[in-house]
Subunit: 355 residues, 2 copies
Amino acid sequence: MKIAILPGDGIGTEIVAEAVKVLNVLDLPFETETALVGGAAYAAHGHPLPESTLALAKAADAVLFGAVGDWKYDTLERSLRPEQAILGLRKHLGLFANLRPALCYEELTHASSLKPELVAGLDILIIRELTGDIYFGQPRGRRTAVDGHFPGAEEAFDTMRYSRPEIERIAHVAFQAARKRRGKVTSVDKANVLETFQFWRDVVTEVHAQYPDVELDHMYVDNAAMQLVKAPKKLDVVVTGNMFGDILSDEAAMLTGSIGMLPSASLDRNNKGLYEPSHGSAPDIAGQGIANPLATILSAAMMLRYSLQQPAAAERIESAVKAVLAAGLRTGDIWSEGTRRVGTREMGDAVVAAI
Amino acid sequence: MKIAILPGDGIGTEIVAEAVKVLNVLDLPFETETALVGGAAYAAHGHPLPESTLALAKAADAVLFGAVGDWKYDTLERSLRPEQAILGLRKHLGLFANLRPALCYEELTHASSLKPELVAGLDILIIRELTGDIYFGQPRGRRTAVDGHFPGAEEAFDTMRYSRPEIERIAHVAFQAARKRRGKVTSVDKANVLETFQFWRDVVTEVHAQYPDVELDHMYVDNAAMQLVKAPKKLDVVVTGNMFGDILSDEAAMLTGSIGMLPSASLDRNNKGLYEPSHGSAPDIAGQGIANPLATILSAAMMLRYSLQQPAAAERIESAVKAVLAAGLRTGDIWSEGTRRVGTREMGDAVVAAI
Ligand SMILES: CC(C)[C@H](C(=O)O)[C@@H](O)C(=O)O
Ligand SMILES: CC(C)[C@H](C(=O)O)[C@@H](O)C(=O)O
């Protein structure tokens, strides 16, 4: 088994180093190869996703990704900016299924913006379609408007679109995930306004016929944004498109109050995947050794479960993380009175020790 | 001055009746005319926005709107569903500027999902563009995909678009509103992915040059969804497109915990407007006399301020609402131990008495 390691920018290097340390202690038959991505790759090779990095990612069985982005690249033209690397990897690797658990750890309930009773025990799985929708739809660009409110004016436009097989495959992922959880799928759309999402609702409903044991409900995206705040624990699996999923998965992550703890998986149709923390590259604290490596360590656990068929090893990591939290170790982002503040490396070492 | 009264469906009739009662006690020179809209109009005339209703709304100086929608119309084809009325009114009346305050009343802080210290004193104004974006962009529909992941498959699509003058005019509304508030505008976009919103960012930045006294920052929509949960009080005026505004304004409203208190205004370029509560038609409690009429009463106050040039009268209503809250009166949605539970009519009467 081969794992491509793409640390990226900002805190990426530090947090990925800890995850690799944890993987290495498990004594599993894999090899790793590291490559530059994002701003770091642009700086070295003039492109955020160099051919060699893409080739490595394609050849590997799984990709462990840190984070990309730094203010110093903000002025580059869009096609050269760090985030193009992540969009390019999703597209070229066909990573259509993004799994984003929003989990509230008992010890960290207090860190949430929400009242403890609303988030204690929270366990939502957001499944975001990741290679379609308005992210990749063509045509897009700038032009002169020929109709609308101001014909003749300069305008910019994008195309939202979903095809039947794209919706079907992500719906299957959601229903299958729900079977292993609490058996409930909430499909989020905007069927009252958008053709794309009326179609989404129709196709999800059709696929549901194959899963009579799973409960399905449909929710408009504006209502979903409200229900996440009002009663998040009523949700189990949430499935939605790329754009709505971008917004709702971040909202849900922030609800837990501990986004530094949340992993993610982006899978292709053969369960090959890219694994990355839900948080960003945090350039403001990069290089200080204070970033929380747990989201990346837990992403490595997801990698073992989904792409490398090592569920027992995944559980060992997850249990070790719980043990470390129970022992009171905290990086700054999740620290509270009465717990012990540790740095990135010390946190990684503690997980290794707990394994 | 002429006010078109469109109560709509569900609790619409009950809550609008209270707002009209409050308006009448102010002894101002206006006349009202009432018409059916939404499901009620469909049931009577076969269309959610009959010609006669639209003509009345066009002829009036302002529209006071209740809410539309009921489960019994869910199976109608989309063009006949109640929400088409609100989309049609926005479009035909040119109501491009939607102002949605998210305000947390001191007495109701506890009703929020968020910890009190995060929402106490919250006062955000979300300005949502309301006649453009993917809501109205053409072309849209279903077709056979010619490219993308599954050429030849059935697909549905929509067009997101914004023209320069559309962005300019909503940006002006935002900067001018900020001048009367805390002087800060946060423009929300997805410039890292969408052509439409890179253009949005460019044009908002250009318009900002005319408002050097106002602070402007740009935020990606996923980050905005997080910041609303994490630190909502850092925001002042938030300006964004129709689709993102739909999601974020509802999220922000729910954060306050008292969506039954939140009014909204939708203005055209001459400050003619449609005023409606931020909440929906709540068919589950319709006809029971328990709905909270305050959002609608406060919408009437916004109407007096923005469309009817009666700021003093608007303030009388707003002060009366505060007095009623201070006196401990609460409808069921905002009730808590130690306060007095009242019905829709009793709440309206109390506001009238306080005026
Ligand atoms: C960086 C950006 C292009 C990306 C997205 O919008 O998908 C990010 O927000 C994410 O969710 O991974
Ligand atoms: C009913 C629906 C079409 C509408 C919208 O999406 O604009 C509603 O959600 C709103 O925000 O007023």
